[in-house]
Symmetry: C2
Subunit: 412 residues, 2 copies
Amino acid sequence: MKAEIIAIGSELLTPFRQDTNSLYLTEQLERLGIPVMQKTVVGDDRERLKAAFGDALRRAELVIGIGGLGPTEDDRTREAVAELLGRKLKREEEVVARMEERFRARGRKMPEVNLRQAMVPDGADWLPNDHGTAPGLWLETDDQRIVLLLPGPPPELKPMFEELCLARLRPRAPKHVFAHKVLKTVGLAESDLEERVAPIYREYTNPETTILAAPGQVEIHLRASGADTAEALRRAEELAERLEQALGDYVFARGPETLEQVVGLYLMMRGATLAVAESCTGGLVAERLTSVPGSSHYFVGGITCYAEKLKAKLVGVSPALLRRKGEVSAEVAAALAQGVRRRTGAVLGLGITGVAGPTGGTPDKPVGTVHLALADAHRVKTEKHRFLGDRERVRWQASQAALELVRRKLLK
Amino acid sequence: MKAEIIAIGSELLTPFRQDTNSLYLTEQLERLGIPVMQKTVVGDDRERLKAAFGDALRRAELVIGIGGLGPTEDDRTREAVAELLGRKLKREEEVVARMEERFRARGRKMPEVNLRQAMVPDGADWLPNDHGTAPGLWLETDDQRIVLLLPGPPPELKPMFEELCLARLRPRAPKHVFAHKVLKTVGLAESDLEERVAPIYREYTNPETTILAAPGQVEIHLRASGADTAEALRRAEELAERLEQALGDYVFARGPETLEQVVGLYLMMRGATLAVAESCTGGLVAERLTSVPGSSHYFVGGITCYAEKLKAKLVGVSPALLRRKGEVSAEVAAALAQGVRRRTGAVLGLGITGVAGPTGGTPDKPVGTVHLALADAHRVKTEKHRFLGDRERVRWQASQAALELVRRKLLK
């Protein structure tokens, strides 16, 4: 069984909005062993919708349409699909009752226009929507192809798919299924990583391997197929293990965890606490660490000392040192790490100073120069980096390297 | 003239990667008055590619293919399009010479496989690529439809489109062109905004109006058409002005500027400086302010006092006050704002304390409760909010409201 996805809505053809539901559905379908072969984005236009669904049904056994099920005249998915398949629409009183109840619970009367959402094509099953008004629709054609229409808002689409569609699709899905594994690495350039792992993954056609590089992070995605989930998983894990051996400590996660989550986990396991004094990253490292629920257990606080005099005033970096070495130096990074540690009473202190750009660079200290330091009670370790890219990219890479410095320390 | 975009690459059919080039191209094409009617994502499969281009050429006068022009066997766009249009591919020696030169400049020899990238269909123009090896291709069919093939990496695609394609498309573009305007607002819920502006924008079919709501921000996008740019712009501006009058100070930007950029601009204009003491937002406000180049002119620093005792130690909030009122209170927000102002010497001090969740809420102070305070030399203003959503959403909305508090102060 192959699938196609049609994302519907004129706003998805503007420069401002993008379909993201298809990424979610692709992941769900792949787990069932159903690959997505094509995606189409089309406006709320009845003729174009009919053509798009018609073309997709010639190529795929499962066609999922997303959106265009709203109450207003703009929304035409229901009508287009009913017309294409030659089904009459008729009002389903149970859907009306559910919608009225929904409005009543909010102390409102259902507007007349919503009645359009209760129109169900002949022979279709409607799927109740617990998070909005538009029901989903499940239609089958005479040659047993499936058309599934889902509402566009993710909080409505996701539970409807998982609770009402997955179980119905599973028995129709192919005998082989897919399993995914991901290895996330930090500290290795893409080409260096490729050199280490290519000889290994090239031995395998199953799993398929994809390398995705982002600033300061390279991910290896494996997709294995098998007769059942256990077999597919076993295949993915076998390769993942060999790759991990080749990469060692560069691997920081074997799943969806972010670097800040992993650092948090290590801090928790060691019973350690962390404080950050940052300059060029301007609060980004603190923001990332505190984005993790429960981070108050190990993150005590941060100081963004952007103005030079605040490095002295808030973190206690000596003004003489600042004059002698300059704000962007290993010595000042070390003083920031030690100072923030002392002032907050944290077990570990992290210091970051650098030139994020676009201005402020010098021949000595060009844009992208970043000094990091990590202090504990006994010693302070410093690192110098030179990151490429614009301000945002430099700041992001600096925050990655800073978190990685903490992770390395806690690995030992 | 109508356009369709075909994004090519099997990785774009995985859950991990998404086409974003089409957003850029849509914006460029709309400026020429060429609307994008449909978008297709298809894998590197010759038959599917031929079908996708064939279908699109039946519907649109301009079909832009993105990607699949690489040197390896995986990349099949060139071959598929040549076959569809019945054109022979032949090697273009000038392209070979340019590629060889490119490799030579990097001290490398061109691999044999790259020769595939020099294959040009009969009658096609090739577009030199100054930022990569794959040239673009411009083909015209017998019925004067255009097929434009562009390389996938944005740093190659964008200059190629702007420098080599825009000027060629302009004379073929329709007589009417589009102009865009955006109004960004903060502080109004979508439904309240809608109520104020709907009676106005409904008077117009040109410009078209789209309301886009994001957490803590609602944007109004206008698209006007006219015989020339001046006319289209005049139409967009006329409506924009009326909408702005109805919305007053809720409008913070009339263009692409972010709230942090606008706040920075106001601080600069007033010669004021700002410092931030944040708890639940964990550095997000400092991070957003310092993401703007040149922010060191007005942002002096921030303190993320995550642990309770650091609110006393780093910002000087009285421990008795913390005990009496609790960390999440208007009084502590005010003490944070005044304390950080005093300790940093900034003109304005901003204080933020709240419950970001998912845990830590109480019946009194449920998740999403956030107190904000802004202090100058004379007074301190506090605000209480209750934000809905998950941790990320609460933090983001709190940062929006905090920046908005500063903007409002500086407006006066």
